[in-house]
């Protein structure tokens, strides 16, 4: 059994009376890819934002490598260096080129010297296959390319864990593949990843574990095989059936074959 890299204990988030999620427990082993699925508004994105401390949780603890990161005196800027995050809308820095986007964290957070940072940023762009777009501004890149730059930007910080918040939801269908391909490669390289997505093909193929979240709690979790073919919960079965119908029918057929 490998050591958990990320442990979430009884995590709760409320907005006033409105409970976003309640008593979430989750433990992620090094190198695992966890896919979180569930209907809209069940707190999937908020959960990721809480892990990255972009949103403060109300109760419970998050541990990263034997260290609690949710304590009051924890330095959130330090924590975030170790947790990469990729957003639905890419959120590249619009005034910087692809290369500068990746380099900014290296020079301004990690205080790397300019030459090393330049080299490292270029390597990260190569990793997502965009070395030839280094000098392009976000406005000159396609959505898929922007998202790959965003992934490179997060990877450049050498994070322990990568969080993906619906990374392909804002993309045109023909651009989804290139982003999923990069993520698949990362998973194979052993990156620890938490992915919120509706891409069931990706979930089935890449996930070590799928977590089904609904109405703020984990309904069921297990291997893709368990959830797709032997769901214990009626709601899981229903949701997967619906979502597969919508997004990945072809994948299911191939998966069955």
């Amino acid at each position: 059994m490998s050591q958990p890299i990320l442990t979430i204990k009884n995590l709760t988030k409320k907005y006033g009376e409105n409970v976003v999620f309640h008593d979430i427990n989750l433990s992620v082993n090094e190198g695992d890819t966890i896919v979180i699925i569930g209907p809209s508004g069940t707190g999937k994105s908020t959960l990721l934002r809480c892990i990255n401390l972009l949103t403060r949780s109300d109760a419970g603890e998050i541990w990263l490598d034997d260290k609690e990161i949710t304590c009051k005196e924890c330095d959130e800027d330090k924590v975030r260096q170790h947790i990469g995050m990729v957003f639905q809308n890419f959120l590249l820095f619009n005034h910087l080129t692809a290369l500068e986007n990746v380099r900014l964290g290296l020079t301004r957070v990690k205080h790397m010297n300019p030459a090393d940072a330049q080299l490292k940023a270029m390597q990260e762009l190569e990793r997502v296959g965009l070395q030839d777009r280094a000098g392009h501004y976000p406005g000159q890149l396609s959505g898929g390319q922007q998202q790959r730059v965003a992934i490179a930007r997060a990877l450049a910080m050498d994070p322990r864990v990568m969080l993906f918040d619906e990374p392909t939801s804002a993309l045109d269908p023909e651009l989804i593949g290139e982003v999923l391909e990069v993520m698949r490669k990362l998973a194979l390289e052993g990156m620890t990843m938490l992915v919120v997505t509706h891409e069931m093909g990706f979930a089935r193929e890449v996930a070590d574990r799928i977590v089904f979240l609904e109405k703020g709690s984990i309904v069921e979790e297990g291997s893709p095989n368990d959830l797709f073919y032997h769901p214990k919960n009626e709601r899981t079965r229903e949701f997967l059936w619906k979502i597969t119908e919508l997004y990945g029918k072809k994948d299911t057929e191939q998966g069955n074959g």
Binding site: N52, L91, F93, N94, R108, V109, Y137, G139, Q140, A154
Partner: protein, 226 residues
């Protein structure tokens, strides 16, 4: 028509001297206003409550009273508090403090149009709040603000004309001098109006150049989306 041109020719050296002072006043006022205005805009948007209150108070005060009153209070009023400033210094200060209030509002508008998402993106890679403001928000805001902000240098250049009232020898003071000397105020002011017009025209070209230079491909479009 001939008489204004004669005055223009005769007083050109004097007008040019005055114009230099006017440009100096504009530049210094603009610079003080830029630095202070940017500070005020950031304080008002990102500062703690007490700082926001101070910033808003400042804006209300300096936008709510005439520049001339501010100028007189600085030049004639401050000495009674034991602080005597020269005419030129008083003019710099009044123009700068006043311009800051207006520039702050331009900057605030641009900062707010960048939106919270860029802040999130900066924080997510481990940049602190202030570093995100400095390296991410402001470089974008300062580009977006240029078209609207371009009003300020032009407006300020003409506003400087009030300082002749505390005897600063700017272009307006030279006009008054010419008017008294020649007994032909209309021609004198007409001649000086031409000098102002030329200065504004040149300034406008400089600003347009600045806007072109700072343009980033796809940026305007992109920032509208988010």
């Amino acid at each position: 028509m001939v008489s204004w041109f004669n005055i223009f020719r005769e007083y050109l050296p004097s007008f040019l001297q005055g114009a230099a002072v006017t440009l100096e006043l504009t530049a210094v006022g603009l610079l003080i206003g830029f630095v202070l205005g940017l500070g005020l805009a950031v304080a008002r948007t990102y500062g703690p409550k007490w700082l926001r209150v101070i910033a808003i108070g400042y804006l209300e005060l300096f936008r709510g009273t005439p520049l001339l009153v501010q100028l007189f209070l600085i030049y004639y009023g401050l000495p009674s508090l034991g602080l005597t400033l020269s005419q030129t210094l008083s003019a710099y200060l009044a123009l700068g403090l006043n311009s800051a209030a207006y520039q702050a509002e331009y900057f605030r508008g641009a900062i707010q149009s960048i939106g919270e998402s860029q802040m999130t993106a900066g924080r997510a890679i481990g940049l602190s709040r202030w570093k995100t403001i400095w390296y991410v928000i402001l470089p974008q805001a300062l580009r977006l603000v240029i078209p609207a902000w371009s009003n300020e240098p032009i407006s300020l250049l003409k506003t400087t004309a009030v300082v002749f009232l505390i005897a600063v020898q700017d272009l307006m003071a030279k006009a008054k001098r010419a008017a008294t000397d020649t007994y032909d105020p209309i021609s004198s002011y007409l001649a000086v109006a031409v000098v102002y017009l030329v200065m504004v025209f040149i300034l406008n070209e400089v600003l347009k150049y600045l806007e072109r230079k700072s343009r980033i491909p796809g940026f305007e479009m992109e920032s509208k989306k988010t």
